[in-house]
C-alpha cells in the first residue's frame, strides 16, 4: 500500500462535470487497505458515478459501520460529511439522519459481516421502512479486519485459506432484500466497473432504498483457490442478467433496441434506467421469478449480477413520513414551539 499522497494540484485541463467539478474533487484520503483490495475499486466506482451525476459533494452524507469496507468512506468524497459508526448499526444512523434532512443524499457502505451478521436486523428493517439511501455492501465472504473468519455470506463450498471447511450455508443478501420488498436490488463486482458505475448512478437516482451487493474480493484472506469470492472464481462464474445504462434527465437516449430486448425504467426526477436483458429468462420487475432465478442459478455456482429487481412504485420513508418540505434540521422556534394559547389549553385540560 502506498503512503505517498497524490499531489493536491489539479491539471487545468481536467474535464469538468456539469457543476464545474473535476473527478479529483470527488476523491478522498489515501486508502489504507491492502494493495489490490476490491473495495478500492468500489470507491473508485463511487467517485466516477458521483462525478458523472454532477452530485454536489457537500449535499451527500456517507455512512458506514465497522470493518474494512466501512473504512472506505474516508477514501472518497472528502468534501462530504462522513460517519463511521458502530458494527452493524449504520442503517439506524442513516434512518435518523435521513429524517433530519431530506435534502441530502445518503450512501451507506457496509460489509458482509456488518450487514449479514450483527447488522442483519437493522438491514432488514431499513428495507422494510424503505429508507431513502443507497446501501452498498462490499461483500468478500470474510471478516478481513479481524483476519479472515468466515462470514455469513461465505458459500458452503468455499474453503478457508488453510483449507478450513465452512459448516454453514450462506445468506444471500440480494434474495433476502428482494423477499423483504426492497425497491432496488442489484449485484455488482468490484472487478467490473463498466457494470458497476451505472448501477451506482441508478441506485443514487432511485428514490427509496437501493441496495448494491458488490462482490469485492479480499486479496489477503479470501482470494485463494477454493474461495467462491475470489477474482478468478467470480470472473469465471459471473452471470450478468441485466445490463444497466443510466441515462440522466438531460440526455437523449441514443441507442434503440428491439422490443423485448430492453426496458426503460423512469425515475422520479426524469432520469431513466435502461435495462437490457442479457438472459431472456430474467424479469427484473417480477419479485417471485427473480427469487426463483437467483435460487436456481446460485445452486449452479453462478454469481448472478446486474440490476436484479427494481420497482419505482413503492412508497419510501420520506413519503411515509409526510414531512414538510423544509428539512427538519432547518426549522426554528417559530416553526416548532407551540403558542401560549396551546400551552394554556394543555394546562386547562389537565385541570380536569
Amino acid at each position: 500500500m502506498s503512503y505517498i499522497r497524490k499531489p493536491a494540484f489539479q491539471h487545468p485541463n481536467l474535464p469538468k462535470n456539469e457543476i464545474g467539478l473535476t473527478r479529483r474533487d470527488y476523491e478522498g484520503a489515501m486508502s489504507t487497505l491492502c494493495a489490490g483490495c476490491g473495495h478500492d475499486s468500489v470507491s473508485a466506482a463511487i467517485i466516477e458515478a458521483c462525478y458523472a451525476l454532477g452530485v454536489e459533494p457537500h449535499r451527500l452524507a456517507k455512512l458506514s459501520g465497522i470493518g474494512c469496507s466501512s473504512k472506505t468512506p474516508t477514501y472518497f468524497l472528502s468534501k462530504s460529511h462522513g460517519f463511521n459508526s458502530v458494527h452493524g448499526r449504520m442503517p439506524s444512523i442513516a434512518t435518523g439522519a435521513s429524517m433530519a434532512n431530506t435534502g441530502l443524499k445518503y450512501i451507506g457502505v457496509s460489509g458482509d459481516g456488518d450487514s449479514a451478521s450483527i447488522g442483519l436486523g437493522q438491514f432488514a428493517h431499513a428495507i422494510r421502512r424503505q429508507v431513502n439511501m443507497l446501501y452498498i455492501i462490499e461483500n468478500n465472504g470474510t471478516y478481513g479486519l479481524t483476519k479472515g473468519q468466515f462470514s455469513a455470506t461465505n458459500d458452503r463450498a468455499s474453503v478457508g485459506r488453510k483449507g478450513q471447511k465452512n459448516q454453514f450455508d450462506p445468506i444471500d443478501i440480494c434474495s433476502l432484500a428482494i423477499q423483504l420488498g426492497a425497491s432496488f436490488v442489484a449485484r455488482g463486482f468490484s472487478g467490473d466497473k463498466a457494470q458497476l458505475v451505472p448501477l451506482i448512478e441508478s441506485g443514487m437516482a432511485h428514490e427509496g432504498f437501493a441496495l448494491i451487493d458488490v462482490v469485492s474480493p479480499c486479496v489477503t484472506f479470501n482470494n485463494h483457490l477454493g474461495s467462491t469470492k475470489s477474482f478468478d472464481f467470480v470472473r469465471e462464474h459471473n452471470n450478468a442478467v441485466m445490463a444497466t445504462d443510466f441515462v440522466p434527465a438531460r440526455e437523449q437516449i441514443h441507442a434503440e433496441y428491439d422490443k423485448g430486448e430492453a426496458v426503460d425504467v423512469q425515475l422520479h426526477d426524469d432520469c431513466t434506467i435502461r435495462l437490457r436483458k442479457l438472459d431472456d429468462d430474467y424479469d427484473p420487475t417480477d419479485r417471485a421469478s427473480a427469487l426463483k432465478y437467483l435460487a436456481d442459478h446460485h445452486d449452479r455456482g453462478e454469481v448472478v449480477t446486474g440490476l436484479l429487481h427494481v420497482d419505482t412504485g413503492i412508497e419510501n420513508l420520506r413519503d411515509k413520513a409526510q414531512l414538510v418540505d423544509q428539512p427538519l434540521n432547518e426549522l426554528v422556534e417559530r416553526d416548532l414551539v407551540p403558542s401560549q394559547a396551546l400551552l394554556d389549553e394543555v394546562n386547562q385540560r389537565r385541570r380536569w
Binding site: H81, L336, N347, W352
Partner: protein, 609 residues
Amino acid sequence: MAALNAINEFVIRFANVNGSGSASANVMFAKIVYRMGVPVAPKNIFPSNIQGLPTWFEARVSAKGHLGRREGVDLMVAMNPQTFAEDLADVVPGGYLLYDSTFEQRISRTDVNVIGVPLTRLCLEAFEDPRQRQLFKNVAYVGALAAFLDIDFEAVKEVVSLQFRGKEKLVGPNIQALELGRDYALRHYDCPLGLRVEKCDAVGDKIMIDGNSAAALGCVFGGATVAAWYPITPSTSVAEAFERYCERMRVDEKTGEHKYAIIQAEDELAAIGMAIGANWNGARGFTATSGPGISLMTEFLGLAYFAEIPLVLFNVQRGGPSTGMPTRTQQSDITACAYASHGDTKQMLLFPSEPNECFNMSADAFDYADRLQTPIIVMSDLDLGMNDWVCDPFEWDQERRFDRGKVLDAEALDKIEKFGRYRDVDGDGICYRTYPGTHPEKGAFFTRGTSRDNYAVYTEDGDVHAENLRRLNRKFDTGAKILPGPEFGQESQRSTIGIIYFGTTATAMPEALEQLEDQDIIVDTMRIRAFPFAPEVAEFVRAHETVYIIEQNRDAQMRMLLMNECDLAPDKMKKILNYDGMPVTARFIAENIAAAVKPGARQGGVAAE
C-alpha cells in the same frame, strides 16, 4: 369498634382485576377529589400482564400536601376475590373495607369496619348489556363512595360530563350507575363515614399530569423533531404522548404535513442509533426507554460520548436488575447510566422529581445536549412517569431561543482557514461542529468512534488520544457549571446532619422532615438535580458530620458516584435504601434516620452512629 376519623387526610386503595375497566372509575374518583380542591396522589400498582391479574389503585388524599406513599390503607375497596385476604390485612385498625356483597366473603378481622354493597347484583338488575354490567360495577362503587365520604354529587356529575366530553351518550348510563351506588349507600348505611372529603383551596390552579406526558411536552417545546423509540414499560407513553402533542401542535395548517418524524424502531439499539443520526445531522432527536433498553443502548452511548454527538435520552427507571419488576419503580440505573459504556466514559444525568420538572428538564436537556455535545440522560422513574401528580402548571417564555451550541455555519466557515472538529479553541473542552450540507468546500469531517486528532483524522498517536480524553474531562467539568445545581431545604446550615436525596424521593421529604422534627431531630437537606455534581454538592457533604443518602436501589449507587467523583470518605455517608419496587415512604426515611441518630441529638449534640 373504633372508626377512623379524618377529613381530607387518608389513604384509599382499590383492589381490582386488571382489564376489568376499573381504571377509568378509579381515575374518576381521583379527579373528583382533585376538583374539590384537595390534593391527591393516585398510584397505579399494576401487574406485568394485560388481563386477569390483580391490580391496585391507591390514592393518598392530603390537604396538607403529604403526597408521598404512606403504608397502611384507611379505606379499601376490595373488588378482587383473589386478593381479598391480603387486602383485608392491609387495612389499618379502625379503617374501612368496602366490598361487593353480592358474593359472600370470609371476614376474620373485628377491628375493621366492613361495608357491603351488592354491586354486581345492582348492575345486573339495572343494565342489560354485558359490557355495561361489568364496567358499571366499578362506577357504582364511586357513587357509593360519594355518599360515604360526603362528596357533593354535583361535583361527581361534573367530572363525569368532563370525562366523557365528546361522547355524550355515555354520560347518562354512567350517572345512572353512580346513582345506583349512592342510593344503596344512603339507604343502608349511616352516611357519611368518619373519613370525608371536604372542599378546600389547596389545589389552586395546579394541574394533574403524569411525568411521561410532561416530558413529551417538554420535547415539543424544546424543539425536538425526530423521535425514535422502542416500546417498553414504563417509557412507552413518552413517545405516545409526544406523538399526540405533535399531531396537535406540529402539523402545518395548510398542507397537513409534519414538522416531526417519529419512528418506532425494531429494537433499542436502532432507536438510539436513529436519534444519534438525527442529532448528528443537526436535528434535535431523542429516545426513551427503561433499564433493559439502557443496557442495549450502552454501545451507542459510548459512541455519542466519544464522538461528541448531542442526544437526549429518557430513562424511566423500573425495578431491576435484568427484566426485574417491569411495573414497579426504582432508582437503580444510576451507575449504569453515569458510566454507560466501556472505556473511560461519563454521561450527564438529570434528576426530575415531579412533572413540572420533567417538562422543564426535558426542554432544557436539548439545550444542554447541543451546548455540551454529549448525551443527556433524564433519569425519571415509573412512579413519576406513569402516575398522575399534582404539580404547577407549565410555563414557557415565548421569547426563549434554542441554544444550538457551537455550530459553524457557511459564513463562519468562510472566515476560517482550516476547520478542526476537535479543536478546543476557548478552553471549556467544547469544540465547534458543523452540520452536513453546510459548505461546498469547508467544514466536512469524519465522525468516528476511533481515536483521532483535532482535525478528525484517524490517528494511533497515544499522546493525542490521551489529550483527547483529558479534554473530554474538561468538558465534563464544564457540564457541572451548566447543568442545574442542587436544591437546598434551608437558607443556611443549621445542623450537623445532612440528608441527600434525588428524584421522586422528594415527594416523601416534607412529611419525613415533619416526623423528624416531632422527635426533635433537625436536619439539613440537599436535593441533587444533575450529574456531574456542582461544587456545592461535595461542600454540603464536607460541611456535615453525618450525611444520609436516600436512594431507591440496593447498592447505594448515588453514594458511589459521590465517593468516586468528589473523593468523599465513605464513613460519614450513611445509606438509607428502599428497593422493594414501591415508592419510599416518609416513615421509612424518618424511622431509619431517627434510629441512627439518638433521640434528642441536635446541632452540636451527641454524634450519630
